[in-house]
Symmetry: C2
Subunit: 181 residues, 2 copies
Amino acid sequence: MSKNDTRYKILIAAADIVQTDGILDLTLEAAAEKAGVSKGGLLYHFPSKDALIEGMVEFLMKNYAESIKMGAEQDLSQTGKWTRAFIKETFLQSTSNRSMDAGLMAAAAINPNLLKPVQDAYEEWQNHIEHDGLDPILATVLRLAVDGLWFSEIFGLAPLEDNRRKLVLERLIQLTQDNEE
Amino acid sequence: MSKNDTRYKILIAAADIVQTDGILDLTLEAAAEKAGVSKGGLLYHFPSKDALIEGMVEFLMKNYAESIKMGAEQDLSQTGKWTRAFIKETFLQSTSNRSMDAGLMAAAAINPNLLKPVQDAYEEWQNHIEHDGLDPILATVLRLAVDGLWFSEIFGLAPLEDNRRKLVLERLIQLTQDNEE
DNA sequence: GACAAAAAACCGTCTAGACGGTACAGTAAA
DNA sequence: TTTACTGTACCGTCTAGACGGTTTTTTGTC
């Protein structure tokens, strides 16, 4: 069992707890037990609870940020490529990878400072989106709609059923294609 | 001091704590002290912490739901009135009344079941918005954008600066006015 | 409208348990 | 010999909730 395997197992376990039982049930002991590691073992990898949350946030941001960048680079059309990448990747992530939410919520609850990396990433994306060859207000609306979808799924606030979700995605993409500045 | 006054004071105090110090600092004692009530007094009104959160959620939903309904009723144009009311009221609430966030976050953190009333209200609004005389996909996009704005402000994820925020609001409203089904 | 009884509103202390974190001795593998 | 743990014991602090007591308000009765 390599160092990274155990770390990974702990992060997944922690995300799982947040997701199913709520933030308040995320304790070091509970996370350790769920990961099949002793409390000492957990503290070996994450010397404090803040460090654990930090790890969760890092973990969630890593793939996400890279995917968006890659999506933008591979887009054949220059106009609106960042906005499209952001839309597509968020739609994808929020179906497949619910542990995203867990890290975010845990950080917000336990230590808002830990949200910094997410905030920084968003600033960058927002900047790209505003200078994407689209009408910046429209581009911003699209970005917000994507976040709204995520939000609605985190909190279960009238989340869209599958078909509608797909139609919304298509519409958002379409709106990036015929609204040049 | 009537029963309702004290209840109200406790709810405000609790929302205040969540808002300024974070969810984890919301304890019964802290809420009681801030409300100028003893812990026993607080427990008289809210027999458990869950009950307190429940009260917060109820409180936040009451005005919000009523405002949206009123906004829709007073709208001179039939087409898109619910969507417009939802947009306007959420923009307003999320500038003026941060206790929305507090209740929501507290519930999500402490006991996700307590989100039920919010979820129910959202189901209703989503239903209105989808049958508002607008293209339902567009209407849904607008709704999501509004939620996204709220979300971005709660977590500080590239929140819009004042002027852009205003322009986005105007654009959203405008989109409800020239997109009949 | 005086007054007692009852109910409602509220106080403040106490307790049992949980939690984050420390310390440390030991183990198994690389 | 270092890395990656296990396991246990422990400490200080915090907190939800219980509880018994006290004040204030309401209600019924004359």
